[in-house]
């Protein structure tokens, strides 16, 4: 159903209340029963510059961002100039009357007057909401909820601006089409990727979280900090990322399900700690929200170029798993799964997301909160001594007791160690310990989230993707199928370990295989080839800092403007 969506872009400077406007509009849409997918584009500054908040809205699930715009809300002149060419044939531009730009498609609004010189963004909400056909009362309630009790003094003024805007729009109503109404809208959440990770983690039993701020991971931290007191979490801003990962390891060793969140550069600093977690067999969940590198790169943009970094992070050899959620729901559920695997296999487990998904608000069906059990931490103390923390077992997994929780002593060492955890330089124990640790990888492999195949079993074109690009790729395939092409998609929401038996036949039966990735080197393709020998010869790669879109993929596939 992609064609029946509407794409709205709000643009302006940082500091103009654009994100507030975007969130309010998005929330109003969700509450009105629509599905949305938000794409936020912002710059590495607090005021000024050019930021965007795009909402794609539809009656069914919206899975991808789009370039072509139906409605452009320009809070400044630049926005109109920069984005006008993305406007579809019957697209509309909503802009302040004060600006000296004009065209047929322009709805020029006296924002200052409507908002009495303040809260232009709230007036814009009123105008846009009305254009879309949203209910005033619903918008007003959303506004109240948003500002809550804390900013109650603003509530009245805000509502006045909203009302004025709604009335103005009714009076100046254009021929512009409203959204089809939804009767009896279902109760749904509006949530972005980072919020879902935070909530997924809490539901999985997270008790300790350490971080050092870094875009685009910071909102995981802020969300957890917000809920910390009520949920009994310890959330601590560390002095640096090295401290963050080591604190999490210490907390986990002492029994608290633990997580850290960061982005590429911060993660680079955690690489030694990852190896420590693996060697001491301490569970830890690591969220890496990708942004374009190398180095500081484009700190507020998106990319999928740290798969290899995360896959090989840490000196020495040890097992790990890497989840790459495709959707906000998956952010929630795969975070839970990451905690389960971490506790069970006592090794670092990764969640690889990116700025696009982190900041992308979506309409999410309510979770079944009652049935989300948290992980179980540690084992019961054995009756007999001595306790061997690193007992060599067939599965590679040893009974994990917690220090101070029984009379057994728990000893862990970053050096190679004996079964009781003490440092050793005995080279035959070394060999056994390497093998013990690596045996866990086989088990982890048997539990992978299999890649998802959609479309023709024997397609002419198979599009391969991972992580947050799923929607863009599936919509591309859908469009091509609408144009009568035999196209399928193969998507990985877990990128390590890989189980070739689960996808090789798809790769082999397609006439052409193309991988679609948000990086310049085709990192998933390389990994697939390493694991299977199968070479994906054509790649659609994007590395300009923006998320993949159906249009961008079609352009690269040379299918022109579908």
């Amino acid at each position: 159903m992609p064609e029946s969506t509407m794409n709205i872009l709000i643009g302006g400077e940082a500091g103009q209340g654009l994100v507030t406007l975007g969130q309010l509009l998005a929330k109003s849409l969700v509450r009105s029963g629509y599905f949305i997918a938000v794409t936020q584009g912002y710059q590495s500054r607090i005021r000024g510059g050019h930021n965007t908040f795009a909402i794609r809205v539809g009656l069914d699930e919206v899975i991808a961002p789009l370039e072509s715009l139906d409605l452009l809300v320009a809070l400044d002149e630049d926005t109109a100039t920069l984005h006008q060419r993305e406007l579809s044939a019957d697209g509309l531009v909503v802009i302040d009357r004060a600006f000296d730009v004009d065209a047929d498609s322009f709805l020029k609004v006296p924002f200052k007057e409507l908002a009495h010189g303040r809260f232009s963004n709230i007036a814009a909400l009123g105008v846009v909401g009305s254009l879309l056909g949203l209910d005033d009362a619903l918008m007003a309630k959303t506004l109240d909820d948003f500002f809550g009790k804390k900013k109650a003094h603003l509530a009245a003024e805000n509502r006045r601006a909203l009302k004025a805007a709604v009335e103005w729009t009714a009076a100046h109503s254009t021929a512009w089409c409203k959204l089809p109404a939804v009767s009896n809208p279902a109760r749904r959440f509006m949530m972005n990727g980072n919020e879902a990770i935070a909530l997924g983690a809490i539901s999985a039993g997270l008790k300790f979280y350490a971080f050092y701020p870094m875009t685009p991971s910071t909102s995981v931290s802020v969300n957890l900090a917000t809920h910390a007191k009520r949920m009994g979490l310890v959330v601590e801003q560390a002095e640096d990322e090295i401290a963050a990962i080591n604190m999490a390891i210490g907390a986990s060793f002492a029994g608290a399900p633990s997580m850290v969140g960061t982005s590429g550069g911060g993660f680079a600093l955690m690489v030694e700690g990852i190896s420590l977690a693996a060697m001491t067999e301490t569970p830890v969940v690591v969220v890496v929200a990708q942004r374009p590198g190398p180095a500081t790169g484009l700190p507020t943009r998106t990319e999928q170029a740290d798969l290899e970094l995360v896959l090989y992070a840490g000196h020495g050899e040890f097992p790990r798993a890497i989840f790459a959620p495709a959707t906000v729901e998956e952010c929630f559920h795969l975070t839970r799964k990451a905690f389960e695997l971490a506790e069970r296999f006592q090794t670092p487990i990764f969640l690889l997301t990116d700025q696009f998904l982190a900041d992308s608000y979506r309409t999410v069906r309510p979770f079944d909160v009652e049935n989300l059990s948290p992980v179980h931490v540690g084992a019961h103390a054995p009756e007999s001594s001595p306790y061997l923390r690193f007992a060599i077992t067939e599965s590679g997994i040893s009974l994990r007791l917690l220090p101070g929780m029984s009379e057994h002593l728990v000893v862990a060492d970053s050096d190679e160690h004996t079964e009781d955890g003490h440092i050793t330089e005995d080279l035959s124990i070394r060999t056994q310990m390497v093998e013990k640790r690596l045996r866990k990888e086989g088990w982890i492999g048997s539990l992978v989230v299999p890649p998802e195949m959609q479309g023709d079993e024997v397609p002419d074109l198979l599009l391969v993707s991972w992580g947050s690009s799923k929607g863009a790729v599936e919509e591309t395939a859908w469009r091509l199928r609408s144009a009568k092409q035999r196209v399928a998609t193969l998507h990985f929401s877990q990128v390590w370990p890989l189980r070739p038996e689960e996808f090789m036949r798809h790769l082999e039966s397609a006439r052409q295989v193309v991988s679609v990735e948000g990086n310049a080197l085709g990192q998933l393709s390389r990994l697939i080839r390493r694991e299977t020998g199968f070479e994906i010869k054509k790649q659609v790669l994007r590395y300009d800092g923006l998320p993949l879109t159906p249009e961008s993929i079609l352009r690269e596939l040379n299918y022109g403007n579908h």
Partner: protein, 283 residues
């Protein structure tokens, strides 16, 4: 009643004559005097000769990475405030690689006893300069002598109003043991910098050198007076004061978290009703 035997006796990988042996003894004495049983104690160490110490007694142990023991200890204490957490590591580990964590631990005032075996050299890696090595000290890696001014951990800790700042000497076991016992009893970060001869790589600051200089602070010395503490902190020459140089009663970091008053985090269930309420707010 816990006795010193409960803490065991093990073979070590240290050089005969190393100051670490006496520190190990003092630690065991202090644990016994503190009436702590092995399973109530968690030692966290880094990498170096000093960092091996926790392997040589009975206790819970996390022997982590070079320089990173304080963050691990902080995490562990915040996960289980009932554990008596002791960091034991070298001068290189704590003031070199781990310098940033040293500053942060003091600022937090986490209830951890920080025992620094300060032999003024990198022992395990064969004698390079450490942050506390004296200017001009010659090593294979510093053939022209050390150019940097030595780090004075005591002065920095006092300047930062650390909660408990002490200096001990491995050659005075009972005095040291008493310091450690007080450090453990102190609620908040307790820094105990322990002068420790390294017979293999430090031929300047030897047992005799320290012995001649170390002098316990007089009984009338008042460690709660910051001004005089700052002065004492800078004394380092013919006389090196040992004892508790400074203390105050800043609140320990973990006491800021109401949840920790209820005990170890692992014992606390996820509040399903509250979680539901929180999630429902996303509607």
């Amino acid at each position: 009643m816990v006795t010193i035997d409960d803490y065991g006796e093990y073979e070590t990988a240290w050089c005969p004559g190393c100051g670490n042996f006496s520190i190990l003894k003092a630690v065991k004495q202090a644990l016994v005097a503190s009436r702590l049983e092995p399973h109530q104690v968690l030692f966290v160490s880094g990498i170096g000769q000093a960092a091996k110490a926790p392997h040589y007694l009975n206790a819970n142990v996390f022997n982590g990475l070079h320089g990173r023991s304080l963050p691990v200890a902080t995490g562990a204490k915040l996960a289980n405030p009932k554990l008596a957490v002791i960091v034991e590591s070298g001068d290189g580990c704590n003031y070199g690689e781990g310098g940033n964590h040293f500053l942060a631990a003091i600022r937090r005032n986490i209830d951890v006893t920080l025992l620094v075996h300060n032999n003024q050299v990198y022992g395990l890696t064969k004698g390079q300069a450490s942050p506390t090595t004296a200017e001009g000290f010659v090593t294979k890696a510093q053939p022209e002598g050390v150019f940097s001014m030595p780090f004075n951990p005591i002065a920095v800790a006092v300047a930062m109003h650390a909660g408990f700042v002490a200096r001990g000497f491995s050659g005075m076991i009972d005095h040291l043991s008493n310091l450690i016992q007080q450090g453990i009893a102190h609620r908040g970060l307790a820094l105990i910098d322990v002068l420790q001869p390294c017979v293999s790589f430090n031929k300047v600051n030897t047992f005799a050198w320290y012995k001649e200089r170390c002098e316990p602070l007089p009984p009338e010395y008042n460690p709660t007076d910051w001004q005089s503490a700052m002065k004492i902190a800078c004394e380092w020459g013919d006389k090196i004061p040992i004892g508790i140089i400074y203390r105050n009663d800043r609140i320990a970091f973990e006491e800021h978290f109401p949840v920790l008053a209820q005990g170890p985090l692992v014992e606390q269930d996820v509040d399903g009703a509250m979680l539901k309420e929180i999630i429902e707010a996303y509607v």
